[in-house]
Symmetry: C2
């Protein structure tokens, strides 16, 4: 592959002029411009990004940290990030951390090493201390999982209120024995959603019973199934279940089916995230929808702005309760 010097030689100009033609950074006479363009075409020249990136000390690569590919929750968000980034000439590198600090380090180093220009972290298990260190010299945006009062900008929804609404919906259906499948409360979203759960119960004078709060290891289908098995084991099985993720809710649904019980007649179920499967289950799953695509776009635009040196503000997005068969009377 030809380089800029060869193009310059062929066109009978200097490499500076070729660069000017390429980037439109200074006036170039029409005749020279044409000569250069001809040479470019003839040599089939494509500028080397390596050279350009080194000189500009940017990589135009954004890292997107997610804990695992296997949660479909992230898909739409990623689409939003990718669409926005691509149309602004940035590429995204999807980084699955597997909640593994070593992997996380690899990705952090990419930023330090100038191999990436910034990070959107959707990983609730991320090492916040290290992230803050990195944020001193690099651009970072948090998505969904965030840090209240911290200095890193974020995009999220009001988790407390969303959970409150979901649980309230179950209460209005007449339930007062409401199980809560939560993930580990080391995650902020989990703590927030628990607060919402409790507020809804208290407002309706339903006592909060810790027996009805189950904490899962992960957010896989299996974790949801296991939670449901727990609820079946205790003397006082709930008549409705709120799960903090659709994958958990679907696992619970499956376990209820296995028991030959009916949803929503015997047990109502509501999830969170509105993953595409949630509309394919039998019965279809009620859930809380976040504007994932928009959140992704917003986060990408914030990050790119940050990289350009502008200040950006955190945002709270709207969410929506989606009622389907699993919570119909």
């Amino acid at each position: 592959m030809a380089n800029i010097q060869e193009v310059a030689r062929k066109a009978g100009v200097s490499s500076a002029t070729v660069s000017r033609v390429l980037n439109n950074t200074a006036p170039v006479s029409l005749t020279t411009r044409l000569k250069v363009e001809k040479a470019i075409k003839e040599l089939n020249y494509e500028p080397s990004m390596l050279g350009r990136n080194l000189r500009n000390s940017e990589s135009r690569l954004l890292l997107v940290l997610i804990p695992t590919f296997s949660n479909p929750y992230y898909i739409e968000i990623i689409n939003g990030i990718e669409d926005y980034s691509l149309s602004n000439n940035y590429n995204i590198l999807l980084c699955e951390t597997d909640s593994n600090p070593e992997r996380e380090n690899i990705f952090f180093n990419m930023v330090k090493n100038k191999l990436a220009d910034g990070i959107i972290s959707m990983d609730p298990t991320v090492n916040m201390k290290k992230l803050y260190e990195l944020a001193e010299r690099h651009s970072i945006v948090l998505l969904s999982e965030y840090d209240e009062g911290g200095s890193i900008p974020y995009v999220t929804i009001d988790h407390e209120q969303a959970a409150y609404k979901a649980v309230n919906h179950l209460i209005k259906l007449g339930h007062n024995k409401i199980g809560f499948i939560n993930s580990d409360e080391k995650f902020l979203y989990a703590r927030k959603r628990r607060e919402g759960y409790e507020r809804a119960l208290k407002e309706s004078n339903i006592p909060v019973d810790n027996e009805w709060i189950y904490h899962t290891e992960g957010v896989d289908f299996q974790d949801g199934a296991q939670a449901m098995r727990y609820f079946f084991k205790i003397k006082n099985t709930p008549t409705a279940v709120f799960a903090v993720s659709d994958t958990l809710a679907i696992g619970a649904l499956k376990e209820i089916n296995n028991k030959q019980l009916k949803v929503p007649e015997d047990i109502a179920v509501i999830g969170f995230d509105n993953i595409s499967f949630s509309n394919m289950t039998n019965p279809t799953l009620s859930t809380v929808a976040q504007p994932m695509y928009e959140m992704g776009k917003k986060a990408a635009s914030m990050l790119i702005n940050r990289i350009k040196g502008n200040d950006v503000e955190s945002v709270l997005m709207d969410y929506e309760l989606i009622i389907r068969e699993s919570t119909m009377r």
Copy 2:
């Protein structure tokens, strides 16, 4: 961030020596090594990948082309690719083409521009002509979708035989009205699976009826549901359905449920891919499992070998029929 020159100055050596310490490419005396390491630590130096990549004219980035994130089929494969790549110091860039030639071009250009070292394409909609052009000067491996007799190495399974086995399984259950939900036959895998479908029928003296072969637009749930609605519309509705992807099969399942019919009693269903959700449906879905993780690993190892300049051979992997509730008697 300090650069190699500053480290050299601080340690009182030349940058060449620092590079030698860093890469162990030539003997360095213990005393100098210690001096250099001390300077590196004090300056908090991390080598710039941009400089290194330019000099070595490599990016240690691999592109993975997929048509869309929304098919969970790809997840395990990507895990395999990523694990292998990361442990060989390569990063992967997940490229969603959306079957959009413009996007595809962006990614191809990254390779031409030395921003990426090679491509694993899982995209059946990829522009094969362009891919072959690219393959003349760059490293490429095909995964799943391949080109018979072509010069680009691939990793795949025997699609014809796998489809044959799946359909044969339905026949053995006593079905002779077997619908086939295929995707567009411009894809090789679709043509191969159709061959398998027809061979199974013919061997059992069941006539092949084109009315029972439906071609979908995509492989989303909706496409599967639509195919099933078609089967309900024709006079002679099949008693069993073979879908070329689990997402299609799940859509069909949903549609059958909507009709208040029972799977497998009224209609048996078998899919393809063994996505994680296929074990969560009601009833659980029979399917054909490909060794996705292994296929990903293999493809990554082939690509990295190619990049190193070695010759690599295409491989056929094993698959497995997974019988679940949707085809039980």
